[in-house]
Structure formats: structure tokens, C-alpha cells
């Protein structure tokens, strides 16, 4: 990509984010809450794709980091009387440290080990946290009482989205991004040309853990009442994966193309046919694998390039 195209994509992203920031001016309560959900998943799936897109390592740890973020805010405010912003500062650091440790343990090995490890992670942390609560701290639910409105949280998430996009843009142009793409193409080659493959993966995974925990912390006031069974719902990880893959991970802005329609679909399903939400997740996965292996964006680019070739 030329330098001009690079700058123009950045400008476009800026314009879109400004537009997104104007949503609260026109949206009412119901649509505001949907916009908040979309903003949350935009940040989560974009930061997921930063790591998993180029490397093809499927992380299912999002729910674990998200839960750690939300839970820390809850326990910090209810059990230790700390302020909301103090906890918002601590939570992502804990998320990052956790991601770093998991990365060190699993990312040296082949991708399968990593997927398996992250698969049960949220559930494992949930049982651990419940056990600690039942035996040591006593309280089951935690209250997060702030005077932040949904609009405030939405705006924070938009700012965070901007930061994630900037980091992603920078990574794509850096040596680190180049290294990750080589790892994704062929890890053996990457190792032989002298790339520290494990470290490159760990850095990006740590960043996605940091962001997911920060999102979990920021959005905690929305739920007011925090319970381990709620914040560590493993489904979140899968939804993030579906959204990112549906949009396409080849481009930085790919995931958002999947986030918006899927979030609306989920809203519709949950409102009308809540019994079938699991089935819908399953079908979404199958559709992606069999019909959209490079996501909607990848499919569009394929069609466009084919048409160009046929007209020339």
C-alpha cells in the first residue's frame, strides 16, 4: 500500500469515528443501548483480529479477560472501597499480565494447544473466582454504582476504538506486523529468517488481553450488579470470533463489517427467539467456514478484483 493510501485510510477511519461519536445526539434509549453493544464488540473484535488475523491463532480468551476486567471493578468498588477510575486503571494491567503469562506458556507451541487452552479459560477462572468468593470473601454479587450514563460509556469506548485503530495501523506498518504476517504464512520460515516468533505473538496477545480487560472494566457500570456467572460468560469469546471472521480479518476495518449486522441479528434473535441463540451461533460458524472463509470484506475484494481483471 502506498503512503497516500495509508494516510487516506486513516482519515477515513477518523471521519467514521467522529460520525460514530455523534450517534448519541440522535439515538434514543433503546438504540443507544444497541450502539453501546456495537461499540463494545467493535473494540473487542478489532483487537482480537490484531492478534488472530495475521497469525491464524484462534483466541477464545476474550471472555476471560473481559470478565477479569469487569470483576475487578466490582470487587474493588464493593469489597475494598476503591474508586471506579482506580480500578479501570488496574484492571487492564491485570488483564495484560494474565495474557502475557498465558502467552508465554502456550504460544511457544503449535496453535492447537493455544486454542484448547483458551477454550476453557473463562470457565476455569469463573469457577475459581466463585470458589474464592464462597469461601473467603463471602459476598456473591458486587455492585458497581457510578453516575456514568450509557452515553458516557459509549463515548469512552469510541475513544478506545480510536486508540485500537491507531495501534493497529501502526503495527501493520511496523516490523512487528510484518513479522506476524510471515508467522501466519509459515511459522517455520519465520523462525528460520530469525524472527522471535514466540515474542511477537506474545506482545500482540498481551495487547488484546489489555484491551479486553479495559472494555470489561469500562462497561461494568452498565450492569450495576456484577456476578461471576454473568461476566465470565464463555459465549462472549465465540461471538467476538464470529463477528471478526464474518467481517474479515485481512483489513483493520474488516471486523466492524461483521460486528454491526451480527449484533443486530443477535438483538433480534434474543428478543424473539431466545431459545435458538445457541443454534444461531453454530450456524454462523458453519456459514463462515463454508461460504465466507475470508469474511465479507475478503469476498467483496475477491469479486472486485475478478471483475477488474475481466474488463481489462
Amino acid at each position: 500500500m502506498s503512503r497516500d493510501a495509508n494516510i487516506s485510510s486513516l482519515v477515513w477511519a477518523g471521519v467514521l469515528l467522529l460520525l460514530a461519536a455523534c450517534v448519541p445526539l440522535v439515538a434514543n434509549g433503546y438504540w443507544m443501548s444497541i450502539a453501546l453493544t456495537i461499540a463494545m464488540f467493535t473494540v473487542l473484535s478489532t483487537s482480537w483480529a490484531l492478534f488472530s488475523g495475521p497469525t491464524h491463532y484462534i483466541s477464545l480468551a476474550t471472555a476471560a479477560f473481559f470478565g477479569v476486567g469487569g470483576y475487578l471493578v466490582g470487587t474493588g468498588m464493593s469489597d475494598y472501597n476503591l474508586g471506579f477510575w482506580t480500578m479501570v486503571a488496574i484492571a487492564p494491567l491485570v488483564g495484560a499480565v494474565l495474557a502475557f503469562l498465558i502467552g508465554i506458556a502456550t504460544l511457544r507451541l503449535s496453535g492447537v494447544y493455544f486454542v484448547i487452552f483458551t477454550l476453557g479459560l473463562a470457565e476455569m477462572i469463573r469457577t475459581l473466582v466463585s470458589w474464592i468468593q464462597n469461601n473467603f470473601t463471602g459476598s456473591r454479587g458486587l455492585y458497581v454504582l457510578t453516575d456514568l450514563t450509557e452515553t458516557d460509556i459509549y463515548l469512552y469506548l469510541i475513544i478506545l476504538a480510536a486508540v485500537v485503530y491507531l495501534v493497529g495501523w501502526w503495527v501493520n506498518r511496523s516490523r512487528l506486523g510484518f513479522a506476524l504476517r510471515i508467522i501466519g504464512n509459515d511459522e517455520t520460515v519465520a523462525r528460520h529468517v530469525g524472527i522471535n516468533t514466540a515474542m511477537s505473538k506474545v506482545i500482540l496477545f498481551t495487547f488484546s488481553g489489555f484491551v479486553a480487560a479495559l472494555v470489561g472494566a469500562l462497561i461494568a457500570p452498565r450492569y450495576t450488579y456484577i456476578e461471576p456467572n454473568g461476566v465470565f460468560s464463555p459465549e462472549l469469546s465465540f461471538i467476538v470470533v464470529i463477528m471478526a471472521l464474518l467481517g474479515g480479518t485481512g483489513r483493520l476495518w474488516g471486523p466492524i463489517v461483521g460486528v454491526i449486522p451480527f449484533a443486530l441479528l443477535q438483538e433480534f434473535i434474543n428478543a424473539n427467539y431466545s431459545n435458538y441463540s445457541t443454534l444461531v451461533l453454530g450456524i454462523a460458524f458453519l456459514v463462515i467456514v463454508y461460504f465466507l472463509p475470508h469474511g465479507v470484506v475478503g469476498r467483496i475484494e475477491q469479486v472486485v478484483s475478478r471483475r477488474r481483471r475481466s474488463t481489462w
Binding site: F117, E187, Y276, T278, F285, V289
Partner: protein
């Protein structure tokens, strides 16, 4: 003593489930994350038929096994074979099969929840049975014996018959076994179907002494995967020992600390294996 025997009995059933996944991953090269759902299908069938017609789960197992075999064979042919053909390398096949089997797993959970959304509670052979002065539930012992029987038959088939040898050859190298005239696609389909049938039988057995529900499959997938990695992929002897270790440790933690922590215990083992013996208990370090 009580803990050790209960742990070993549990480990026996785990070994059978891991055996099924080992065939699917070791031979057919499909990381089947919907494996646990087939286990739950076995449990659901046992519960359903027991409640409706009071037919013993052991009979159910004999009915369910061929059905599961056929179902898994169709799944492999229709859904997974195209992925094998399209994949350029092992890595891509792994990613694709992981995502596809996630899809299947969610779809199956969705269907099973709509069939029966609550716990599969029934009571079969919940009678006391005495071994060296300690009492155990008879259903655990019966399940263990059948697990050993099924595992033994499979082991004999794999190691003392020609098709079994062909299957082991495929697990060593798909390319080389194709070169010596083994029909690799057929063997892979057979291994996948057989693995699914074994897991489903394991599910029927386990449902006699553990109460399951429609969404619990993923936990068993996790456990089977931990066992396979600990034992070394494709290594049956390793998997059996790993399964017994997991059964022992889970039972110990559940009895002495808290039943809620069994998953955390399984994870602790998993981390230790990944850190110190990622090639499996008896595996050799790759050069």
C-alpha cells in the same frame, strides 16, 4: 484408598472418551471440538430411553453406537472432507476444522436444549458394592468394566488386525501410507466415525453415574483434549495413563478441597504439561 479407587474408576471412563478423540485427531487429523456434544448425545439417549421405556443404558449403548458411527461418518464425508481437500497445509486444516466443529458443537447444543433443557437425571444401578471393605456405587464399577471392555476390543483391533494396522499407519503419516496403497480418505472417515461412536458410548456410560445437561459437552471436550495432550497425540498407552491421572487428581481435589474446583485442577495439570512435557508423557522431544 476410597479416593484412589473412585479416581481410577472415573479415569477408566475418561480414557474411553479420550480414545474416541484420539482416533479423530490422531488418524483423521480433525481437531473435533464437537466431541463432547456426541458424549452428551449418548447421555441424552440413555436418559430418554431409560425414562420412557426403562431400558437399561447398557442396551441403549448397543443401539446408539451404530447410529453414532453412521452419523459421524456422514459428518466426515459431507462437512469435513471438503475442508481436508481445500486445506493447503496442516495448519489451515486445523483452523478450519476447529471453526467448523465449533459450529457443529453449538448447533448440537442448540438442538439438544430444545429437546430437553434440564438435567438428565435418572437412577440406574445406584446400589452399594463392596471392594476390599469400602463401598462404591455399582454403576461406577459397571461403567468402568464396560469402558475397559470396549477399549480392550479396540486395542486388539488396532494392534492385531490388518485394517487396524492400516489405521495406525495413517496416524503415523498420511502421505507415506497413501504411497503404500492404503486408502487414506476411507481410513480417515472410518477413524472419525469410530471415534465418534466410542465417545458416544462413553457418554452413555458416564451418564449412569454423573448427571449431565445439554450444555456440558465442552467441559468433556476439554478433559479429553487435556488427556490426549498429556498422553501424547496418537499414543494410546499414554492416554490411558493420563486419563487415570486426571481421574485421580479430580477426585482428590473434589473430595479434599471443593467439587467446584475440578476444572481448575485439570487446568493446573494442563499448564504443567505444556510447560514441561508438551510432547506428552512418553513422547520424545522433536529434534
Amino acid at each position: 484408598m476410597d479416593i484412589i479407587i473412585t479416581g481410577l474408576l472415573l479415569g477408566g471412563t475418561y480414557a474411553l472418551i479420550a480414545f474416541g478423540l484420539n482416533l479423530q485427531y490422531g488418524v483423521a487429523r480433525i481437531m473435533n471440538l464437537a466431541n463432547g456434544e456426541f458424549l452428551v448425545i449418548g447421555a441424552l439417549a440413555a436418559f430418554w430411553i431409560f425414562v420412557a421405556d426403562a431400558i437399561s443404558p447398557i442396551m441403549t449403548m448397543l443401539i446408539v453406537a451404530p447410529l453414532a458411527f453412521f452419523g459421524n461418518w456422514v459428518i466426515y464425508k459431507v462437512l469435513l472432507r471438503p475442508l481436508v481437500r481445500r486445506a493447503k497445509n496442516q495448519g489451515q486444516l486445523e483452523v478450519d476444522s476447529i471453526l467448523a466443529t465449533f459450529g457443529m458443537s453449538f448447533a448440537l447444543v442448540g438442538i439438544m436444549v430444545s429437546i430437553h433443557g434440564e438435567y438428565f437425571t435418572y437412577s440406574y444401578l445406584a446400589e452399594p458394592f463392596e471392594i476390599i471393605g469400602e463401598t462404591f456405587a455399582l454403576n461406577r464399577i459397571v461403567a468402568f468394566c464396560f469402558a475397559v471392555l470396549i477399549g480392550g476390543v479396540l486395542w486388539f483391533w488396532l494392534y492385531f488386525t490388518r485394517p487396524g494396522m492400516a489405521m495406525r499407519a495413517v496416524s503415523v503419516s498420511t502421505e507415506a501410507s497413501g504411497l503404500v496403497g492404503i486408502n487414506v480418505p476411507k481410513m480417515s472417515a472410518l477413524a472419525f466415525a469410530l471415534g465418534g461412536a466410542v465417545t458416544t458410548m462413553g457418554g452413555t456410560l458416564i451418564s449412569t453415574f454423573i448427571t449431565l445437561d445439554a450444555s456440558v459437552g465442552v467441559i468433556f471436550t476439554m478433559k479429553a483434549l487435556i488427556i490426549i495432550i498429556m498422553g501424547g497425540v496418537g499414543d494410546i498407552r499414554g492416554a490411558i495413563i493420563a486419563a487415570l491421572i486426571l481421574g485421580l487428581i479430580e477426585t482428590t481435589v473434589a473430595r479434599l478441597i471443593d467439587p467446584g474446583l475440578t476444572l481448575a485442577a485439570a487446568y493446573a495439570i494442563f499448564v504443567l504439561v505444556l510447560l514441561f512435557r508438551p510432547q506428552g508423557l512418553f513422547g520424545r522431544k522433536p529434534s
